[in-house]
Symmetry: D2
Subunit: 326 residues, 4 copies
């Protein structure tokens, strides 16, 4: 489904090379001050143009077509559009029947019986994360007391990220990365037992971002090697503060008053200039493929602001749900 | 929310030491043959009693109170009850105001304003995974062509699992583990763009299982260190088969016709006999705590069948949703 | 789907002659005082045994198996079971292939491919309204300030209801009725634009009650013959009070601070002793049928408390949703 | 919520005098042929300009910004925009604090704490039914075998509709109406027990249309005066065909193979030129009000195509859900 959230409900639409992409937020509280300028910082952080990111640069000006009046949200659905301008669909024309390895091309063709808009990955494109970032800007306003910060902590296995990316670029190749997200200022008790634990909700959203292969909270995979006596976080006061934070700020699926900490693994960009083999739907044989188009050498470079956005969207919904009963 | 799934919809209820726990499956297709005996194998695998698992052993006989008639599912909601018999609530009485580190005690107290049933973790208890296993038995029947198998591949960082567990037991401590799940026989195209990718849906369910700290699909966290040229899986035929399987059987969030592979990190059991510090709600001070009750030294031992269950539940829903449009 | 509501979420299960029927309330606020005795009054009002109602009388003692601890709701799912005791399934055995006119027998057989539990209407039975009444008792506690009262205002077209029912009984026939519901104490602003207007939510629930054929709010069908100058209700003060109440307490789909008023039409009970024709699935011909079993001559007699229940359930959900943002 | 449907999911956004209104259909099957011209007929039927309808005429050209490629639906969300062009917001400026009787002005002000876009009713405006009609055009394509037809059968209590409307117009007043909808070609078994009966789903949608005060299926309110022996519809063949159709094509909440028949009551337009009293938020007193702006004397004239649309949307969802299990 292209919607997520129970009361702060975010819906996406659009294809990479269609007329427009967009996002609707239903259940947005009324009275939040909001202006087009508020989107500049986060959209700018997501924007390509730096070394290691695609040369396709879009201005991506948000067009708020509903839910805003006199500079405040109205409580009616807030819809934000982004027109697709800088489109070179010709680049993709011959890919329809030559599915690119690592991409959705093949599965999309099968699932949608060949009717999917295949240009630039269509509805599966990472371009739709632009809508997530826009929704995240609004979600952050709902979370006034919460500060969220994500950053790329390694690429290609190295903390010298620039060097890793430059090396991949030189080879016409791409490289993966590790992104960490931390959020402070969250009170005790957000999260909805049994199925909508904080981990469940954030992981659900995180894996909607193309290229994410793993997620871990607090001690994460290291916990599999630990003992309880060193993993348990002793509670030290009435606010729930703990002496250590192996839990990553979550106990029993609910926020526990400590810093929320999690990390995601981003795979290397699937589009590379290096030659690859793939099955051709047209010829029925394995053929050699060289992907054209403009791409990112390290998509992880652009992920942090998207990860902040999905975190904010997730938490905004959980905040409103918790407020409901407390 | 205590429900999950869109058309194959699973809802849980019950507390660890209450009268009963149970599960309702709404949207279960009519005509599936089903008998009480069908639950024996999976419930047996989850059952405690082995070295490293809690001495609290329940017979856990499923009582199917609705949705079954003449040995087949009727298409009406299928509800399965498990009475809680072997309960020693006295063990927990003094824990109400002494929240155990690593447990939900503190956050549950805050979120539910002290009205939560705290005995044995109440609604947050791992005992509710019994209901997931029962729902999984039904889900596996919906997935007739699919084979799902999960196993514990390491504990305490070692593949000699028995030795790790025995050592922890000897120290009155606990130990974490790593569980891998593989599923074969899944056709191309299950999963729902944009938000309900296969990874999203499975991760959502996996993090509802208490004690899970991380999940990774295919190459997982290793992908963060890889290059695209080695990570991309070349497609080799019209069924979508790929030469390698770094994607773990998922492309663009949809199943791609290859084996589904993922791993989860299970933290060490929070209840340990070793003394710990925690904040006492009663005294307002940090006090020393020794957790009583009967517990697992390595909860990961009992996780594989639960992981199979949540995988089956997730895939059953995605199968029915995909069938809807194909 | 067998669930309704977004945050106060009610799910039904069970068949008329199965082991048990039941209801789960997910999202029930913690801390509501609740005891088995609280159900007596409403369950008693629904109970059969009066002239014009079926001789099948069940004690219908609610068994609260989860979500209750120390006399209060815990905030975890509240599940209430009713065992089916007074069952005479033999009465229905030959109806499997002789679908009764006015009943769900034929459509249930087709939709569920013959696997449905046909005894006594199975999952389609009016007996499931027992679960609605039980959920209504809890919902009324959520709505502390609101008073809801429904009553039968005519049967067979006459306000002398006893006489209409007695006459139908004498003829082995049945008769329909009109039920009116009024609720006071509702503040301005409950209801969720655009689709979840108060009328939408209540009508949705009302038409889940078997035998309901129509619903009208305020002036209702009379409005189709009126002019705006006499239909509009002048607002007279800051609480939203209006001089007349043609709107039935709802403006723009939201409660407007006035009394909520609506009426429903209940069809005559489909099961009658009078001979009828129907198509036999077995013989492939139209056959004469005389419905056996124990039935109500005027099911509308038992509807008021059910209507109050669905109104309470609907309003409880809308209250919690509105509270969310106000 | 501004979304409806479980698998064919329709979401609305926009305010009457904002930049645009629109609708997103998520879960639209891929491969449906669709062109802008396909909307002409139904949008034309809804359009104003005839005697008794508002002089505000909009061209209302649909702008399909996503989900369409090479003349077919792609399976990705289909979003259709309508720009608001012919807006005279000045007409409404002084109404902010003088809520019009019969309108949502007062409740919207309270619920959204004064942040709602009050111009022309904002998000509560009947203008949003334009989006429903557009979604209905797509839904009708999903329902290839089904024919739906709605018509106004009386206005102001008379079947001489033109005369009723002309008389109201002459008096600066408005008049209500009765609209009947019939649908043929629906197979047995659509509808989802227990809560999502066909009546529940259609009524839910119908009451989202502003100005609807009542709905009845088949015999409807007349059933309250009838006896079972005359109300029951004898089944005559294996397709479920019945000799009469008091059920209106629905048994046990599921379609029964006969014509679907229902009627709705439309209240007279709330905006009238006749002077009315209302409470002024500004002065705190009851004041005389004369509503300016351009309005319909009989909004029921424009309802039939909207009613067809909500019927098609409801049935499309139920068809896809039923297909899921049959």
């Amino acid at each position: 489904m292209n919607s997520t959230g129970r009361v702060f409900r975010v819906s996406l639409f659009g294809e990479s090379h269609g007329e427009a992409i967009g996002v609707t937020i239903d259940g947005c509280p009324p009275g939040l001050p909001l202006a087009t300028e508020d989107f500049n910082a986060d959209l700018g952080r997501r924007r390509a143009g730096k070394a290691g990111t695609t040369p396709r640069v879009e201005e991506d000006l948000p067009d708020i077509v509903s839910g805003l009046f006199n500079g405040h949200t109205t409580g009616a659905p807030l819809t934000i559009l982004f027109r697709n301008m800088n489109v070179r669909s010709g680049d993709y024309a011959d890919l329809r029947e030559t599915p690119r390895p690592g991409h959705s091309d093949f599965v999309a063709y099968k699932r949608f019986m060949g009717f999917n808009d295949y240009r630039g990955g269509g509805h599966f494109s990472g371009r739709l994360t632009l809508c997530l970032v826009a929704a995240g800007v609004v979600a952050k306003k709902v979370l006034s007391t919460v500060t969220i910060e994500a950053k790329l902590i390694s690429a290609g296995g190295s903390s010298d990220i620039e060097k890793s990316v430059a090396a991949a670029l030189e080879d016409g190749d791409s490289v993966g990365g590790l992104v960490e997200c931390r959020a402070t200022g969250i009170p005790v008790g957000w999260g909805e037992p049994f199925f909508d634990s904080v981990e469940s909700v954030i992981a659900h959203m995180a894996f909607a971002i193309p290229a994410i292969k793993g997620i871990e909270f607090g001690s994460g995979f290291a916990a599999a090697s630990m003992r309880g006596s060193s993993h348990n976080d002793p509670i030290v006061d009435d606010t729930g503060k703990t002496a250590s934070n192996n839990a990553g700020g979550i106990s029993g699926g609910l926020t526990n008053g400590n810093e929320l900490v999690f990390r995601i693994a981003v795979k290397p960009t699937s589009s590379i200039s290096v030659k690859q083999n793939t099955y051709s739907i047209k010829t029925g044989k394995v053929e050699e493929l060289k992907v054209k188009g403009r791409h990112d050498a390290c998509i992880a470079l652009r992920v942090p602001v998207v990860l902040e956005a999905i975190t904010a969207i997730s938490l905004a919904d959980l905040k409103l749900l918790a407020g409901n009963r407390l």
